[in-house]
């Protein structure tokens, strides 16, 4: 994968053991109270806030030497953020890394859930910028704490209703609020709402880390995750009117790629691993080229 050599001089997975214990205790409480945001003493990491310091700390706390790590950024394995975090753990923990969703035991993600179904025994670690779903509606943490304690989520329904009043439909397309196990309303991180249905009854454990905001929360496997909606305006995901131009996949989330200055564009799978595997299996889209060499 990367040419990074394991670094000596750091503890396994970079964090000291005291920090790991603190994060681990927070993770255990987060799992016991699905959707509730557990405060934790987030550390400074050797990367800026906004680059996934929360996710990195959660990954560092759970990672063992036999784990296989995959890191994605907007579905892609090969963007700067994904490559850097993968190299970080390859260097500080000497763990095996992969781009294959199926082979990974721990998947750290920035804003996508892989297209390939997750399975039991996998852990999906989300990088979260703003963990509080009510933050833009109520700026005071003391107040949002109370609202969660009382399960008072009327504000959020008003916000979604205002969407309908203004646009005729719920116009929230990412970070779409969900209700976890019938109790806490949770921000699924800025994943497209296309991915929300994958969180419901997911066989994998889902952990969320927000480094700057110092919060950890979790959704255990096989837990009910319901996107908020109204009876007359049920939750709906985006649809795409064409398949992936490279692999021909339908029913997947697509990225728009500009090709030239004359308005040329193509729509391709956001999940690069899914797209590559399909092309390796011989699927070709309208703008794709048939694979001549099968992937190993």
């Amino acid at each position: 994968m990367s040419a990074a050599q394991p670094d000596t001089g750091y503890n396994f997975a970079y964090l000291d053991e005291g920090t790991k214990r603190m994060i681990r205790r927070a993770i255990l409480k987060a799992i016991a109270i699905p959707g509730y945001q557990v405060p934790f003493a987030s550390r400074e990491m050797p990367m800026p806030y906004g680059w996934g310091t929360g996710g990195v700390q959660v990954t560092a706390a759970i990672l063992g030497k036999d784990d296989v790590l995959k890191v994605i950024d907007q579905g892609s394995d090969d963007t700067t953020n994904a490559v850097s975090i993968r190299a970080f753990f390859a260097r500080t923990a000497d763990v095996a890394v992969t781009t294959r969703t199926r082979e990974a035991t721990v998947i750290q993600t920035r804003h996508r859930i892989p297209e390939a179904p997750l399975h039991e025994g996998q852990v999906l670690v989300y990088q979260v910028p703003i963990p509080e779903p009510l933050r833009y509606l109520e700026p005071r943490e003391t107040e949002t704490r109370q609202l969660h304690a009382l399960a008072e989520y009327g504000l959020m329904h008003v916000k979604l209703y205002e969407d309908i009043a203004r646009h005729g439909h719920i116009a929230t397309t990412y970070a779409y609020p969900v209700e976890v196990a019938g109790r806490y309303v949770m921000d699924p991180s800025p994943t497209p709402k296309f991915d929300n249905p994958k969180m419901d009854d997911c066989p994998a454990l889902q952990l969320f880390g927000a480094g700057r905001e110092k919060r950890i929360y979790a959704v255990p496997p096989h837990t009910r995750v319901k996107s908020l909606d109204f009876e007359d305006h049920p939750f709906r995901v985006q649809t795409f009117d064409r398949p992936c131009a490279l692999c021909g996949a339908e029913g997947v989330y697509l990225d728009e790629v500009l090709l030239d200055d004359a308005g040329g564009r193509m729509f391709v799978c956001s999940d690069t691993d899914h797209c590559e595997e399909r092309r390796a299996d011989g699927h070709v889209g309208t703008g794709g080229v048939a694979e001549t060499v099968a992937h190993a």
Partner: protein, 195 residues
């Protein structure tokens, strides 16, 4: 002489934590737990391993009566974890219970507050029998369909206690049931009914 701690503190702690994490994430499943510890009796190797992996100066320990009666147990835990030993159950981050049948009411331990339900005690019960597929019926987050779990010894009114604990959700305590070489967990989110 003081019994030794983990042979490989970094990876042994991680292994214990992952077993506890998987058990809490999937109530009703039994996770393997190899410790390599030989702590002073009546502290079991599993209780010791969970304390060594998760307790420290920020996470006070509460010991039940049989453990308190043996100074070697306190000495072992103090040396290896650095955790404060508290006599007040409601101050404990972890409660180590070597005689689960005589475990105090769950309500005497920290329950968390409505705004911060995470500030609650995790009870670690040393059971001798632990099996899945029979016993209590479990339902809730982390459980596909339904699960069953049996453990002994436990308090006579265990199911009623767990019912009250679940009724207080999101406040309440979380339980880890640790037998020789394996463990299971009952987080507060799990509904438990009699088998």
């Amino acid at each position: 002489m003081l019994a030794r701690g983990f042979t490989d503190p970094v990876h042994d702690s991680q292994g214990v934590f992952r077993a506890v994490m998987d058990a809490l994430a999937r109530p009703g499943t039994i996770q393997g737990l190899a410790t390599g510890l030989e702590p002073p009796s009546p502290l079991t190797a599993e209780l010791a391993a969970i304390a060594l992996a998760l307790a420290d100066a920020d996470a006070p320990l509460w010991l039940d009566e049989p453990l308190r009666q043996h100074p070697a147990v306190a000495e072992f835990l103090r040396f290896h974890t650095g955790a404060r030993l508290t006599g007040t159950p409601s101050e404990a981050a972890f409660a180590l219970v070597s005689d689960p049948a005589a475990c105090p009411e769950f309500g005497t331990f920290a329950q968390g507050t409505p705004a911060y339900p995470d500030r609650s005690t995790t009870l670690v019960l040393a059971v001798s029998d632990l099996s899945c597929g029979e016993g209590w019926r479990l339902d809730g987050p982390g459980i596909r369909g339904g699960a069953r779990l049996a453990a002994a010894p436990v308090p006579a009114d265990m199911v009623e206690r767990l019912g009250r604990n679940h009724a207080g959700f999101p406040q309440g305590v979380d339980l880890i049931l640790a037998a020789a070489g394996r463990l299971a967990a009952l987080p507060r989110s799990t509904r438990v009914t009699g088998g």
